[in-house]
Amino acid sequence: MDGVGLNHYLLLSATLFAIGAIGVLVRRNVILVLMSLELMFNAANINLVAVSYFRPDLTGQIFSIFTITVAAAEITVGLGLVIALFRNKEAINVDEFNLLKG
Protein backbone atom coordinates (compact mmCIF):
# COMPACT_ATOMS: atom_id res chain seq x y z
CA MET A 1 0.00 0.00 0.00
CA ASP A 2 1.52 3.19 -1.22
CA GLY A 3 3.06 5.09 1.63
CA VAL A 4 0.74 3.77 4.31
CA GLY A 5 2.52 1.26 6.46
CA LEU A 6 1.82 -0.51 9.69
CA ASN A 7 3.01 2.51 11.61
CA HIS A 8 0.20 4.62 10.27
CA TYR A 9 -2.29 2.14 11.53
CA LEU A 10 -0.56 1.96 14.90
CA LEU A 11 -0.68 5.72 15.19
CA LEU A 12 -4.32 5.82 14.23
CA SER A 13 -5.16 3.23 16.82
CA ALA A 14 -3.09 5.02 19.46
CA THR A 15 -5.03 8.19 18.81
CA LEU A 16 -8.34 6.39 18.99
CA PHE A 17 -7.20 4.70 22.18
CA ALA A 18 -6.30 8.04 23.70
CA ILE A 19 -9.63 9.56 22.74
CA GLY A 20 -11.37 6.63 24.38
CA ALA A 21 -9.27 7.00 27.51
CA ILE A 22 -10.06 10.70 27.69
CA GLY A 23 -13.73 9.88 27.40
CA VAL A 24 -13.52 7.37 30.23
CA LEU A 25 -11.64 9.67 32.53
CA VAL A 26 -13.21 12.99 31.74
CA ARG A 27 -16.90 12.50 31.06
CA ARG A 28 -19.22 12.13 34.01
CA ASN A 29 -22.02 10.30 32.32
CA VAL A 30 -21.76 6.57 32.91
CA ILE A 31 -23.25 5.59 29.59
CA LEU A 32 -20.80 7.76 27.77
CA VAL A 33 -18.01 6.21 29.79
CA LEU A 34 -19.13 2.80 28.60
CA MET A 35 -19.16 4.02 25.03
CA SER A 36 -15.65 5.36 25.40
CA LEU A 37 -14.53 1.98 26.64
CA GLU A 38 -15.76 0.58 23.36
CA LEU A 39 -13.50 2.99 21.54
CA MET A 40 -10.53 1.64 23.44
CA PHE A 41 -11.39 -1.92 22.51
CA ASN A 42 -11.77 -0.86 18.89
CA ALA A 43 -8.35 0.72 18.93
CA ALA A 44 -6.82 -2.59 19.94
CA ASN A 45 -8.78 -4.29 17.18
CA ILE A 46 -7.37 -1.99 14.56
CA ASN A 47 -3.89 -3.01 15.67
CA LEU A 48 -4.69 -6.68 15.55
CA VAL A 49 -6.21 -6.61 12.09
CA ALA A 50 -3.55 -4.31 10.69
CA VAL A 51 -0.75 -6.52 11.91
CA SER A 52 -2.59 -9.51 10.55
CA TYR A 53 -2.56 -7.83 7.16
CA PHE A 54 1.03 -6.72 7.15
CA ARG A 55 2.70 -9.78 8.63
CA PRO A 56 0.62 -11.64 7.20
CA ASP A 57 -0.77 -13.95 9.83
CA LEU A 58 -4.27 -15.06 10.60
CA THR A 59 -4.03 -14.94 14.40
CA GLY A 60 -4.76 -11.24 14.55
CA GLN A 61 -8.06 -11.60 12.71
CA ILE A 62 -9.11 -14.51 14.87
CA PHE A 63 -8.18 -12.58 17.97
CA SER A 64 -10.20 -9.62 16.84
CA ILE A 65 -13.28 -11.79 16.51
CA PHE A 66 -12.88 -12.77 20.13
CA THR A 67 -12.27 -9.19 21.10
CA ILE A 68 -15.41 -7.95 19.43
CA THR A 69 -17.44 -10.64 21.13
CA VAL A 70 -15.91 -9.97 24.52
CA ALA A 71 -16.43 -6.25 24.17
CA ALA A 72 -20.07 -6.81 23.32
CA ALA A 73 -20.52 -9.09 26.31
CA GLU A 74 -18.76 -6.63 28.55
CA ILE A 75 -20.96 -3.76 27.50
CA THR A 76 -24.06 -5.86 28.11
CA VAL A 77 -23.06 -6.47 31.70
CA GLY A 78 -22.07 -2.85 32.14
CA LEU A 79 -25.43 -1.64 30.97
CA GLY A 80 -27.09 -4.17 33.26
CA LEU A 81 -25.21 -2.67 36.17
CA VAL A 82 -26.19 0.84 35.08
CA ILE A 83 -29.86 -0.10 34.99
CA ALA A 84 -29.69 -1.74 38.40
CA LEU A 85 -28.02 1.29 39.89
CA PHE A 86 -30.33 3.69 38.14
CA ARG A 87 -33.36 1.87 39.46
CA ASN A 88 -32.10 2.19 43.00
CA LYS A 89 -30.57 5.59 42.94
CA GLU A 90 -31.86 7.48 39.95
CA ALA A 91 -28.45 8.84 39.16
CA ILE A 92 -25.98 8.06 36.48
CA ASN A 93 -23.51 10.70 37.32
CA VAL A 94 -20.13 9.25 38.12
CA ASP A 95 -19.48 11.81 40.84
CA GLU A 96 -22.70 11.01 42.61
CA PHE A 97 -21.55 7.55 43.56
CA ASN A 98 -20.57 8.37 47.04
CA LEU A 99 -21.82 5.66 49.32
CA LEU A 100 -18.37 4.16 49.37
CA LYS A 101 -15.87 6.50 50.86
CA GLY A 102 -12.41 6.30 52.24
Binding site: L37, F41, F63, G78, L81, A84, F97, L100
Partner: protein, 492 residues
Protein backbone atom coordinates in the same frame (compact mmCIF):
# COMPACT_ATOMS: atom_id res chain seq x y z
CA UNK B 1 -7.20 -30.05 8.81
CA UNK B 2 -9.76 -32.69 8.46
CA UNK B 3 -8.68 -34.37 11.64
CA UNK B 4 -10.69 -33.93 14.76
CA UNK B 5 -10.01 -30.58 16.34
CA UNK B 6 -9.90 -32.03 19.83
CA UNK B 7 -8.13 -35.12 21.09
CA UNK B 8 -8.83 -37.25 24.10
CA UNK B 9 -5.73 -35.90 25.81
CA UNK B 10 -7.02 -32.40 25.33
CA UNK B 11 -10.29 -33.30 26.98
CA UNK B 12 -8.64 -35.04 29.91
CA UNK B 13 -6.40 -32.02 30.32
CA UNK B 14 -9.40 -29.78 30.82
CA UNK B 15 -11.44 -32.34 32.77
CA UNK B 16 -11.64 -30.13 35.89
CA UNK B 17 -12.75 -27.20 33.78
CA UNK B 18 -15.33 -29.39 32.07
CA UNK B 19 -16.72 -30.42 35.44
CA UNK B 20 -17.01 -26.80 36.50
CA UNK B 21 -18.66 -25.84 33.22
CA UNK B 22 -21.11 -28.71 33.50
CA UNK B 23 -21.89 -27.76 37.06
CA UNK B 24 -22.52 -24.16 36.04
CA UNK B 25 -24.89 -25.20 33.27
CA UNK B 26 -26.73 -27.61 35.54
CA UNK B 27 -27.16 -24.99 38.25
CA UNK B 28 -28.56 -22.59 35.69
CA UNK B 29 -31.00 -25.03 34.10
CA UNK B 30 -32.02 -26.54 37.41
CA UNK B 31 -32.68 -23.05 38.75
CA UNK B 32 -34.74 -22.19 35.71
CA UNK B 33 -37.01 -25.21 36.00
CA UNK B 34 -37.23 -25.37 39.77
CA UNK B 35 -39.69 -22.52 39.69
CA UNK B 36 -40.72 -22.11 43.33
CA UNK B 37 -37.09 -22.22 44.51
CA UNK B 38 -38.02 -23.26 47.95
CA UNK B 39 -34.73 -24.72 49.02
CA UNK B 40 -31.91 -22.70 47.53
CA UNK B 41 -29.43 -24.53 49.76
CA UNK B 42 -29.56 -27.46 47.40
CA UNK B 43 -27.73 -25.40 44.80
CA UNK B 44 -25.03 -24.62 47.30
CA UNK B 45 -24.52 -28.25 48.16
CA UNK B 46 -24.50 -29.22 44.53
CA UNK B 47 -21.94 -26.52 43.74
CA UNK B 48 -19.79 -27.61 46.64
CA UNK B 49 -19.95 -31.21 45.49
CA UNK B 50 -18.89 -30.31 41.98
CA UNK B 51 -16.06 -28.17 43.27
CA UNK B 52 -14.84 -31.12 45.28
CA UNK B 53 -15.14 -33.32 42.19
CA UNK B 54 -13.09 -30.84 40.18
CA UNK B 55 -10.54 -30.66 42.98
CA UNK B 56 -10.18 -34.41 43.03
CA UNK B 57 -9.74 -34.40 39.27
CA UNK B 58 -7.03 -31.76 39.41
CA UNK B 59 -5.19 -33.73 42.05
CA UNK B 60 -5.37 -36.85 39.91
CA UNK B 61 -3.78 -35.14 36.94
CA UNK B 62 -0.05 -35.12 36.55
CA UNK B 63 1.74 -32.02 35.36
CA UNK B 64 3.41 -32.24 31.95
CA UNK B 65 5.48 -30.09 29.65
CA UNK B 66 2.97 -30.57 26.89
CA UNK B 67 0.57 -27.97 25.65
CA UNK B 68 -2.99 -28.65 24.67
CA UNK B 69 -5.51 -27.22 22.23
CA UNK B 70 -2.91 -26.27 19.63
CA UNK B 71 -0.59 -24.73 22.14
CA UNK B 72 -3.12 -22.58 23.92
CA UNK B 73 -3.22 -24.28 27.30
CA UNK B 74 -0.56 -25.79 29.50
CA UNK B 75 -0.80 -28.26 32.30
CA UNK B 76 2.26 -27.45 34.35
CA UNK B 77 2.60 -27.74 38.11
CA UNK B 78 2.29 -23.97 38.31
CA UNK B 79 -1.19 -23.89 36.84
CA UNK B 80 -2.32 -26.87 38.88
CA UNK B 81 -1.20 -25.13 42.04
CA UNK B 82 -3.40 -22.22 41.16
CA UNK B 83 -6.31 -24.41 40.13
CA UNK B 84 -6.27 -26.01 43.55
CA UNK B 85 -6.06 -22.63 45.20
CA UNK B 86 -9.04 -21.30 43.22
CA UNK B 87 -11.10 -24.39 43.91
CA UNK B 88 -10.40 -24.23 47.63
CA UNK B 89 -11.31 -20.55 47.76
CA UNK B 90 -14.49 -21.16 45.80
CA UNK B 91 -15.43 -23.98 48.15
CA UNK B 92 -14.94 -21.72 51.15
CA UNK B 93 -16.92 -18.97 49.47
CA UNK B 94 -19.85 -21.27 48.80
CA UNK B 95 -19.91 -22.56 52.36
CA UNK B 96 -19.73 -19.05 53.76
CA UNK B 97 -22.47 -17.79 51.44
CA UNK B 98 -25.39 -20.01 52.39
CA UNK B 99 -26.66 -18.29 55.48
CA UNK B 100 -25.46 -14.90 54.29
CA UNK B 101 -27.55 -15.01 51.12
CA UNK B 102 -30.57 -16.30 53.02
CA UNK B 103 -30.34 -13.38 55.39
CA UNK B 104 -30.09 -10.95 52.52
CA UNK B 105 -33.02 -12.52 50.75
CA UNK B 106 -30.91 -13.06 47.69
CA UNK B 107 -30.37 -16.76 47.60
CA UNK B 108 -30.67 -17.55 43.91
CA UNK B 109 -29.03 -20.21 41.77
CA UNK B 110 -27.54 -17.45 39.63
CA UNK B 111 -25.11 -16.69 42.43
CA UNK B 112 -23.58 -20.12 42.16
CA UNK B 113 -23.62 -19.91 38.39
CA UNK B 114 -21.53 -16.74 38.43
CA UNK B 115 -19.27 -18.15 41.09
CA UNK B 116 -18.60 -21.21 38.98
CA UNK B 117 -18.01 -19.24 35.79
CA UNK B 118 -15.63 -16.93 37.63
CA UNK B 119 -13.84 -20.01 38.86
CA UNK B 120 -13.72 -21.37 35.32
CA UNK B 121 -12.23 -18.15 34.03
CA UNK B 122 -9.56 -18.17 36.72
CA UNK B 123 -8.61 -21.73 35.95
CA UNK B 124 -8.11 -20.84 32.31
CA UNK B 125 -6.15 -17.74 33.25
CA UNK B 126 -3.66 -19.78 35.22
CA UNK B 127 -3.26 -22.33 32.47
CA UNK B 128 -3.17 -20.16 29.38
CA UNK B 129 0.18 -19.97 27.62
CA UNK B 130 -1.14 -17.89 24.76
CA UNK B 131 -2.57 -14.40 24.86
CA UNK B 132 -5.74 -15.47 23.08
CA UNK B 133 -6.77 -18.03 25.67
CA UNK B 134 -5.42 -15.85 28.44
CA UNK B 135 -7.50 -12.88 27.42
CA UNK B 136 -10.65 -14.90 27.02
CA UNK B 137 -10.21 -16.58 30.40
CA UNK B 138 -9.47 -13.28 32.05
CA UNK B 139 -12.58 -11.70 30.63
CA UNK B 140 -14.76 -14.63 31.64
CA UNK B 141 -13.49 -14.25 35.17
CA UNK B 142 -13.83 -10.49 35.15
CA UNK B 143 -17.38 -10.42 33.82
CA UNK B 144 -18.56 -12.98 36.35
CA UNK B 145 -16.95 -11.06 39.16
CA UNK B 146 -18.50 -7.74 38.09
CA UNK B 147 -21.90 -9.33 38.34
CA UNK B 148 -21.05 -10.94 41.67
CA UNK B 149 -19.93 -7.65 43.18
CA UNK B 150 -23.17 -6.05 42.04
CA UNK B 151 -25.09 -9.13 43.02
CA UNK B 152 -27.17 -7.56 45.79
CA UNK B 153 -29.00 -5.55 43.19
CA UNK B 154 -31.39 -3.89 45.58
CA UNK B 155 -28.54 -2.56 47.66
CA UNK B 156 -27.23 0.70 46.17
CA UNK B 157 -23.82 0.08 47.69
CA UNK B 158 -23.50 -3.19 45.88
CA UNK B 159 -24.64 -1.59 42.60
CA UNK B 160 -22.19 1.19 42.98
CA UNK B 161 -19.33 -1.13 43.83
CA UNK B 162 -20.14 -3.33 40.85
CA UNK B 163 -20.25 -0.42 38.46
CA UNK B 164 -17.04 1.16 39.73
CA UNK B 165 -15.29 -2.15 39.53
CA UNK B 166 -16.70 -2.63 36.06
CA UNK B 167 -15.59 0.71 34.66
CA UNK B 168 -12.02 0.48 35.91
CA UNK B 169 -11.83 -3.25 35.26
CA UNK B 170 -13.01 -2.86 31.69
CA UNK B 171 -10.60 -0.01 31.18
CA UNK B 172 -7.73 -2.13 32.43
CA UNK B 173 -8.87 -4.93 30.13
CA UNK B 174 -8.77 -2.52 27.24
CA UNK B 175 -5.27 -1.42 28.17
CA UNK B 176 -4.24 -5.04 28.54
CA UNK B 177 -5.64 -5.85 25.13
CA UNK B 178 -3.93 -2.86 23.60
CA UNK B 179 -0.62 -3.94 25.09
CA UNK B 180 -1.16 -7.42 23.68
CA UNK B 181 -1.83 -5.96 20.27
CA UNK B 182 1.41 -4.01 20.42
CA UNK B 183 3.36 -7.10 21.37
CA UNK B 184 1.66 -8.89 18.54
CA UNK B 185 2.72 -6.10 16.25
CA UNK B 186 6.28 -6.39 17.48
CA UNK B 187 6.68 -10.13 17.43
CA UNK B 188 3.95 -11.46 15.21
CA UNK B 189 2.79 -14.04 17.67
CA UNK B 190 0.54 -14.34 20.69
CA UNK B 191 2.25 -17.32 22.22
CA UNK B 192 4.06 -16.34 25.41
CA UNK B 193 7.19 -18.42 24.87
CA UNK B 194 7.37 -17.43 21.20
CA UNK B 195 7.16 -13.77 22.16
CA UNK B 196 10.23 -14.18 24.34
CA UNK B 197 12.08 -15.87 21.50
CA UNK B 198 11.04 -13.23 19.00
CA UNK B 199 12.16 -10.45 21.29
CA UNK B 200 15.59 -12.01 21.56
CA UNK B 201 15.77 -12.87 17.86
CA UNK B 202 14.63 -9.44 16.72
CA UNK B 203 16.76 -7.66 19.33
CA UNK B 204 13.73 -5.73 20.39
CA UNK B 205 14.93 -5.19 23.95
CA UNK B 206 15.84 -1.59 23.38
CA UNK B 207 13.01 -0.71 21.02
CA UNK B 208 10.93 2.23 22.12
CA UNK B 209 7.77 0.54 20.98
CA UNK B 210 8.59 -2.38 23.23
CA UNK B 211 8.93 0.00 26.13
CA UNK B 212 5.54 1.49 25.36
CA UNK B 213 3.93 -1.94 25.20
CA UNK B 214 5.67 -2.96 28.40
CA UNK B 215 4.49 0.04 30.35
CA UNK B 216 0.92 -0.49 29.19
CA UNK B 217 1.12 -4.17 30.09
CA UNK B 218 2.52 -3.42 33.53
CA UNK B 219 -0.19 -0.90 34.30
CA UNK B 220 -2.94 -3.21 33.07
CA UNK B 221 -1.69 -6.01 35.28
CA UNK B 222 -1.19 -3.51 38.07
CA UNK B 223 -4.92 -2.83 37.84
CA UNK B 224 -5.72 -6.50 38.00
CA UNK B 225 -3.66 -7.17 41.11
CA UNK B 226 -4.77 -3.86 42.64
CA UNK B 227 -1.25 -2.49 42.94
CA UNK B 228 -0.89 1.15 43.88
CA UNK B 229 -1.43 3.53 42.03
CA UNK B 230 -3.89 1.37 40.08
CA UNK B 231 -5.77 0.30 43.17
CA UNK B 232 -8.53 2.88 43.38
CA UNK B 233 -11.24 0.42 42.45
CA UNK B 234 -10.25 -2.17 45.03
CA UNK B 235 -11.45 -0.68 48.33
CA UNK B 236 -14.81 0.13 46.77
CA UNK B 237 -15.24 -3.22 45.09
CA UNK B 238 -14.14 -5.18 48.14
CA UNK B 239 -16.16 -3.23 50.65
CA UNK B 240 -19.29 -2.48 48.66
CA UNK B 241 -20.05 -5.92 47.31
CA UNK B 242 -21.45 -8.83 49.25
CA UNK B 243 -18.98 -9.87 51.95
CA UNK B 244 -18.89 -13.43 50.69
CA UNK B 245 -17.86 -12.17 47.27
CA UNK B 246 -15.13 -10.06 48.83
CA UNK B 247 -13.93 -13.17 50.58
CA UNK B 248 -13.70 -14.90 47.23
CA UNK B 249 -12.20 -12.17 45.09
CA UNK B 250 -9.63 -10.81 47.54
CA UNK B 251 -8.14 -14.27 47.43
CA UNK B 252 -8.96 -15.98 44.15
CA UNK B 253 -9.17 -13.11 41.68
CA UNK B 254 -6.00 -11.66 43.10
CA UNK B 255 -4.21 -15.00 42.88
CA UNK B 256 -5.42 -15.43 39.30
CA UNK B 257 -4.10 -12.01 38.40
CA UNK B 258 -0.78 -12.95 39.95
CA UNK B 259 -0.69 -16.18 37.99
CA UNK B 260 -1.10 -14.16 34.81
CA UNK B 261 1.41 -11.57 35.92
CA UNK B 262 4.05 -14.12 36.80
CA UNK B 263 3.56 -16.02 33.59
CA UNK B 264 3.65 -12.97 31.38
CA UNK B 265 6.60 -11.31 33.03
CA UNK B 266 8.70 -14.35 33.78
CA UNK B 267 8.00 -16.23 30.56
CA UNK B 268 7.10 -13.81 27.80
CA UNK B 269 8.83 -10.64 28.90
CA UNK B 270 11.84 -12.25 30.52
CA UNK B 271 14.25 -10.78 27.94
CA UNK B 272 13.06 -7.32 28.86
CA UNK B 273 13.48 -7.72 32.58
CA UNK B 274 16.00 -4.94 32.90
CA UNK B 275 13.30 -2.51 31.84
CA UNK B 276 10.56 -3.73 34.13
CA UNK B 277 12.19 -4.95 37.31
CA UNK B 278 12.57 -1.51 38.82
CA UNK B 279 9.07 -0.63 37.74
CA UNK B 280 7.70 -3.65 39.54
CA UNK B 281 9.86 -2.99 42.59
CA UNK B 282 8.52 0.55 42.75
CA UNK B 283 4.98 -0.82 42.46
CA UNK B 284 5.69 -3.21 45.33
CA UNK B 285 6.98 -0.44 47.60
CA UNK B 286 4.10 1.91 46.81
CA UNK B 287 1.56 -0.87 47.18
CA UNK B 288 2.79 -1.88 50.60
CA UNK B 289 3.10 1.61 51.99
CA UNK B 290 -0.11 3.04 50.60
CA UNK B 291 -2.11 -0.09 51.42
CA UNK B 292 -0.92 -0.23 54.99
CA UNK B 293 -1.08 3.46 55.72
CA UNK B 294 -4.56 3.78 54.26
CA UNK B 295 -5.68 0.81 56.31
CA UNK B 296 -4.58 2.55 59.51
CA UNK B 297 -7.33 5.12 59.34
CA UNK B 298 -10.28 2.99 58.29
CA UNK B 299 -13.31 2.71 60.50
CA UNK B 300 -15.11 0.35 58.18
CA UNK B 301 -13.74 -3.10 58.72
CA UNK B 302 -14.35 -4.25 55.18
CA UNK B 303 -12.39 -1.30 53.88
CA UNK B 304 -9.61 -2.01 56.34
CA UNK B 305 -9.38 -5.57 55.14
CA UNK B 306 -9.55 -4.33 51.56
CA UNK B 307 -6.53 -2.10 52.09
CA UNK B 308 -4.76 -4.88 53.92
CA UNK B 309 -5.39 -7.07 50.91
CA UNK B 310 -3.80 -4.40 48.72
CA UNK B 311 -0.76 -4.30 50.99
CA UNK B 312 -0.37 -8.05 50.87
CA UNK B 313 -0.19 -7.90 47.08
CA UNK B 314 2.92 -5.80 47.56
CA UNK B 315 4.55 -8.62 49.47
CA UNK B 316 3.85 -11.06 46.68
CA UNK B 317 5.33 -8.58 44.23
CA UNK B 318 8.57 -8.68 46.22
CA UNK B 319 8.78 -12.35 45.35
CA UNK B 320 8.12 -11.65 41.68
CA UNK B 321 10.79 -8.99 41.56
CA UNK B 322 13.22 -11.36 43.23
CA UNK B 323 12.37 -14.04 40.68
CA UNK B 324 13.02 -11.71 37.79
CA UNK B 325 16.62 -10.88 38.52
CA UNK B 326 17.90 -14.38 39.00
CA UNK B 327 17.71 -17.68 37.25
CA UNK B 328 17.95 -21.35 38.03
CA UNK B 329 17.47 -22.34 41.65
CA UNK B 330 17.25 -18.83 42.97
CA UNK B 331 14.43 -18.05 40.56
CA UNK B 332 12.53 -21.19 41.54
CA UNK B 333 13.05 -20.23 45.15
CA UNK B 334 11.58 -16.79 44.57
CA UNK B 335 8.60 -18.02 42.56
CA UNK B 336 7.94 -20.64 45.19
CA UNK B 337 8.06 -17.88 47.80
CA UNK B 338 5.38 -15.90 45.96
CA UNK B 339 3.22 -18.97 45.53
CA UNK B 340 3.60 -20.00 49.15
CA UNK B 341 2.72 -16.50 50.25
CA UNK B 342 -0.44 -16.56 48.16
CA UNK B 343 -1.33 -19.95 49.55
CA UNK B 344 -0.82 -18.91 53.16
CA UNK B 345 -2.65 -15.67 52.51
CA UNK B 346 -5.64 -17.57 51.14
CA UNK B 347 -6.56 -19.17 54.43
CA UNK B 348 -5.94 -16.31 56.80
CA UNK B 349 -7.73 -13.85 54.59
CA UNK B 350 -10.71 -16.13 54.03
CA UNK B 351 -10.83 -16.63 57.77
CA UNK B 352 -10.83 -12.91 58.51
CA UNK B 353 -13.60 -12.21 56.00
CA UNK B 354 -15.60 -15.18 57.23
CA UNK B 355 -15.50 -13.74 60.73
CA UNK B 356 -16.88 -10.49 59.36
CA UNK B 357 -19.74 -12.46 57.82
CA UNK B 358 -20.44 -13.92 61.23
CA UNK B 359 -21.23 -10.54 62.75
CA UNK B 360 -24.45 -8.70 62.60
CA UNK B 361 -25.93 -5.64 64.23
CA UNK B 362 -29.38 -4.12 63.86
CA UNK B 363 -30.04 -6.91 61.43
CA UNK B 364 -27.27 -5.63 59.19
CA UNK B 365 -24.13 -7.40 58.24
CA UNK B 366 -21.11 -6.47 60.31
CA UNK B 367 -19.03 -3.82 58.65
CA UNK B 368 -17.82 -1.28 61.09
CA UNK B 369 -15.13 -1.69 63.61
CA UNK B 370 -17.62 -1.32 66.47
CA UNK B 371 -19.40 -4.44 65.32
CA UNK B 372 -16.42 -6.32 66.65
CA UNK B 373 -16.72 -4.66 70.04
CA UNK B 374 -16.45 -7.10 72.87
CA UNK B 375 -16.28 -10.11 70.64
CA UNK B 376 -14.02 -11.72 73.22
CA UNK B 377 -16.83 -11.77 75.73
CA UNK B 378 -19.59 -12.46 73.21
CA UNK B 379 -18.08 -15.52 71.69
CA UNK B 380 -14.75 -16.83 72.75
CA UNK B 381 -14.24 -19.18 69.79
CA UNK B 382 -15.03 -16.45 67.26
CA UNK B 383 -12.62 -14.13 69.01
CA UNK B 384 -9.91 -16.75 69.04
CA UNK B 385 -10.32 -17.47 65.33
CA UNK B 386 -10.17 -13.80 64.43
CA UNK B 387 -7.14 -13.33 66.67
CA UNK B 388 -5.26 -16.10 64.93
CA UNK B 389 -6.19 -14.77 61.48
CA UNK B 390 -5.14 -11.25 62.34
CA UNK B 391 -1.86 -12.30 63.89
CA UNK B 392 -1.18 -14.44 60.88
CA UNK B 393 -1.95 -11.56 58.54
CA UNK B 394 0.44 -9.49 60.60
CA UNK B 395 3.14 -12.12 60.22
CA UNK B 396 3.45 -13.32 63.81
CA UNK B 397 4.83 -16.86 64.09
CA UNK B 398 4.02 -19.67 64.20
CA UNK B 399 1.13 -18.97 61.86
CA UNK B 400 1.20 -19.39 58.09
CA UNK B 401 1.53 -15.68 57.42
CA UNK B 402 4.87 -15.56 59.16
CA UNK B 403 6.35 -18.31 57.05
CA UNK B 404 5.03 -16.58 53.94
CA UNK B 405 6.74 -13.34 54.93
CA UNK B 406 9.88 -15.20 55.85
CA UNK B 407 9.92 -16.85 52.47
CA UNK B 408 9.51 -13.72 50.34
CA UNK B 409 12.02 -11.78 52.40
CA UNK B 410 14.49 -14.63 52.06
CA UNK B 411 13.87 -14.67 48.31
CA UNK B 412 14.47 -10.93 48.13
CA UNK B 413 17.73 -11.07 50.08
CA UNK B 414 18.80 -14.09 48.11
CA UNK B 415 18.39 -12.18 44.87
CA UNK B 416 20.14 -9.09 46.16
CA UNK B 417 17.04 -7.03 46.88
CA UNK B 418 17.82 -6.45 50.53
CA UNK B 419 16.35 -2.97 50.58
CA UNK B 420 13.07 -4.33 49.29
CA UNK B 421 13.06 -6.84 52.13
CA UNK B 422 13.71 -4.02 54.59
CA UNK B 423 10.75 -2.10 53.20
CA UNK B 424 8.67 -5.24 53.52
CA UNK B 425 9.75 -5.73 57.11
CA UNK B 426 8.94 -2.15 58.05
CA UNK B 427 5.55 -2.59 56.48
CA UNK B 428 4.96 -5.76 58.43
CA UNK B 429 5.43 -3.70 61.56
CA UNK B 430 3.08 -0.99 60.31
CA UNK B 431 0.42 -3.51 59.40
CA UNK B 432 0.43 -4.98 62.88
CA UNK B 433 -0.81 -1.65 64.12
CA UNK B 434 -4.23 -1.86 62.51
CA UNK B 435 -4.59 -5.57 63.06
CA UNK B 436 -4.01 -4.86 66.73
CA UNK B 437 -6.63 -2.16 66.57
CA UNK B 438 -9.21 -4.78 65.73
CA UNK B 439 -7.92 -6.96 68.54
CA UNK B 440 -8.22 -4.09 70.98
CA UNK B 441 -11.80 -3.46 69.95
CA UNK B 442 -12.60 -7.13 70.33
CA UNK B 443 -11.13 -7.34 73.80
CA UNK B 444 -11.63 -4.01 75.44
CA UNK B 445 -14.80 -2.38 74.20
CA UNK B 446 -18.19 -3.37 75.48
CA UNK B 447 -20.37 -5.15 72.99
CA UNK B 448 -23.27 -3.27 71.44
CA UNK B 449 -26.60 -4.40 72.79
CA UNK B 450 -28.13 -5.47 69.54
CA UNK B 451 -25.09 -7.31 68.30
CA UNK B 452 -25.63 -10.91 67.38
CA UNK B 453 -23.64 -13.62 65.75
CA UNK B 454 -25.24 -15.34 62.82
CA UNK B 455 -23.91 -18.81 63.09
CA UNK B 456 -24.52 -21.50 60.58
CA UNK B 457 -22.96 -24.90 60.28
CA UNK B 458 -21.27 -24.30 56.91
CA UNK B 459 -19.84 -20.99 58.07
CA UNK B 460 -18.52 -22.56 61.25
CA UNK B 461 -16.97 -25.24 59.13
CA UNK B 462 -15.35 -22.57 56.96
CA UNK B 463 -13.91 -20.85 60.00
CA UNK B 464 -12.60 -24.03 61.54
CA UNK B 465 -11.05 -25.18 58.28
CA UNK B 466 -9.43 -21.79 57.71
CA UNK B 467 -8.14 -21.79 61.28
CA UNK B 468 -6.71 -25.27 61.01
CA UNK B 469 -5.02 -24.46 57.73
CA UNK B 470 -3.67 -21.12 58.94
CA UNK B 471 -1.98 -22.86 61.83
CA UNK B 472 -1.06 -26.03 59.97
CA UNK B 473 0.59 -24.28 57.03
CA UNK B 474 2.72 -22.45 59.56
CA UNK B 475 3.68 -25.34 61.77
CA UNK B 476 3.44 -28.41 59.60
CA UNK B 477 4.83 -26.58 56.62
CA UNK B 478 6.88 -29.24 54.86
CA UNK B 479 4.32 -30.62 52.40
CA UNK B 480 3.15 -27.15 51.46
CA UNK B 481 6.68 -25.91 50.94
CA UNK B 482 7.39 -28.92 48.75
CA UNK B 483 4.26 -28.26 46.81
CA UNK B 484 5.06 -24.59 46.27
CA UNK B 485 8.60 -25.50 45.25
CA UNK B 486 7.41 -28.00 42.69
CA UNK B 487 4.86 -25.52 41.38
CA UNK B 488 7.58 -22.99 40.69
CA UNK B 489 8.40 -24.88 37.50
CA UNK B 490 6.72 -22.93 34.76
CA UNK B 491 6.31 -24.08 31.26
CA UNK B 492 9.29 -22.58 29.38
Amino acid sequence: MGSLPVTVEDLWAIAPELIVTAAASIVLLWGAFDAPRKRPQQFAWFTLASIVAALVTVLRQTPTDQTYFSGLLGMDAFSMFFSVLFLISAGFAVAASIRFLDDHGAHHPEYYFFLLTALLGMMFMARAVDFVSLFVGLELQALSVYVLVGYLKNDPKSNEAGLKYFILGAMSSAIFLYAISLFYALTGTTNLAAIAQAIVAGELETSKLTTAALVLMASALGFKIAAVPFHVWAPDAYSGGPTTVSLFITVASKAAAFAVLIRIFIVALEPLQESWVLLLAALAVLTMFVGNIAALTQENLKRMLAYSSIAHAGNVLIGVVAAATTDGDARSFAIAASLFYLFAYTFMNIGAWATVILLRRNGLAGENLEDFAGLASRSYPAFFCMLVFLLSLGGIPPMAGFLGKWYVFAAAINSGWTWLAVVGAINAAISIFYYLRIVVVMVVQDPAEDATLVRSAPLTLTLVAALVMTVAVGIWASPFLDWAASASQLLP
